[in-house]
Symmetry: C2
Amino acid sequence: MRLSELSKRSGVSTATIKYYLREGLLPPGERITATQADYDEEHLRRLRLVRALVQVGRVPVATAREVLAAVEDESSDQLSRLGTAVGALPHGPTTTGDDAATERAGRTAEEVQRRLGWRIVPGNPAHRMLISSLATLIRLGYPCEVDHLLPYGRAAAGIAEHELALIGEFEAPTTQLEAAVALTVLYEPVLLALRRLAQAEEAGRRFGANRGAGADPAADAEGEG
Amino acid sequence: MRLSELSKRSGVSTATIKYYLREGLLPPGERITATQADYDEEHLRRLRLVRALVQVGRVPVATAREVLAAVEDESSDQLSRLGTAVGALPHGPTTTGDDAATERAGRTAEEVQRRLGWRIVPGNPAHRMLISSLATLIRLGYPCEVDHLLPYGRAAAGIAEHELALIGEFEAPTTQLEAAVALTVLYEPVLLALRRLAQAEEAGRRFGANRGAGADPAADAEGEG
């Protein structure tokens, strides 16, 4: 397809596509004439991934390039490619000091993962992100006990199982990796929105007793759709 | 306690505390002399909440003031105060157009909540955040089916039930609300970090078969701690 069709099908302006091409985030199309190139379905797929990273994940262009290189690196096995690609995504504040809060957060993070039966990989950026966010809880004096954290971990494990099953449905290894990276980024706001909605629902159940007296919450779930 | 002790116990510098006082994020202490004031445990608790909002949640000062006003508004019932406070928190990009993707995202968001037995509140910022993030998935051509979204919703419901139980352990209504707001903000990075760790764990199980042949993942969970 021509640049204009790639733009139409992806919803990304031709100017932005040209910018991604210049920055090496998209492989060049096949030259047809001196001024025209041809693009295929792979370009479209790649363009969507770049969009997910840059627009939704607010990943800097240099980082996006790193993520894409890991996805494409066929010299490496699937698991390492995924680890490198997701590891290159932004992880929020991961500043860890060597104060008492960070030390306690580190012990808590390891204990949580041990109790969940997970491997502990100290260099993993997500591991550092967990320690950093637990250290903040500790510094501010909010609850941060292992028993309180386990339900979050179990919820995350359930989601991960579901996600990896979905990713397994994509055919080629590279397509699976692209989907894994894109869904990691794109489902973060979905999960956070659902958590807030679930909180509101649960708060309504607990604090809204006056209003809901006699009402059966299950009734809302009825009806055919 | 004096300003210096409030600073020491909260880990927040006296200059920053003075700034929060000037901005009305902290109520003034009780004047003792022309230059000294006395602060109590309530100041400390409030200071921690402000810190959670401003430092971790990156909430602008004006927004933080709005959140705190809702928490304190004793003329309103607990549920409305919580709704207003959490509703005032940032919700990521909630730009919704009136294109086909937004329309389909809106239908999907309602169907997901209906299937989960949740009340649908169109004005809720989290509802708009959900629609906006689903519309992005749709625009980019990634999976966004109701059946795929339900496991995220169920995980969120489990977490919310656990969170509200924890919040119920705080004594006074205002303290409960403060904790609810702080934990909403502070546990977002915890949840996202755990999701990435769970993904890595699950990916290792699926893609890392070569390395783990014969290894029993349950073995990692053994041992007393």
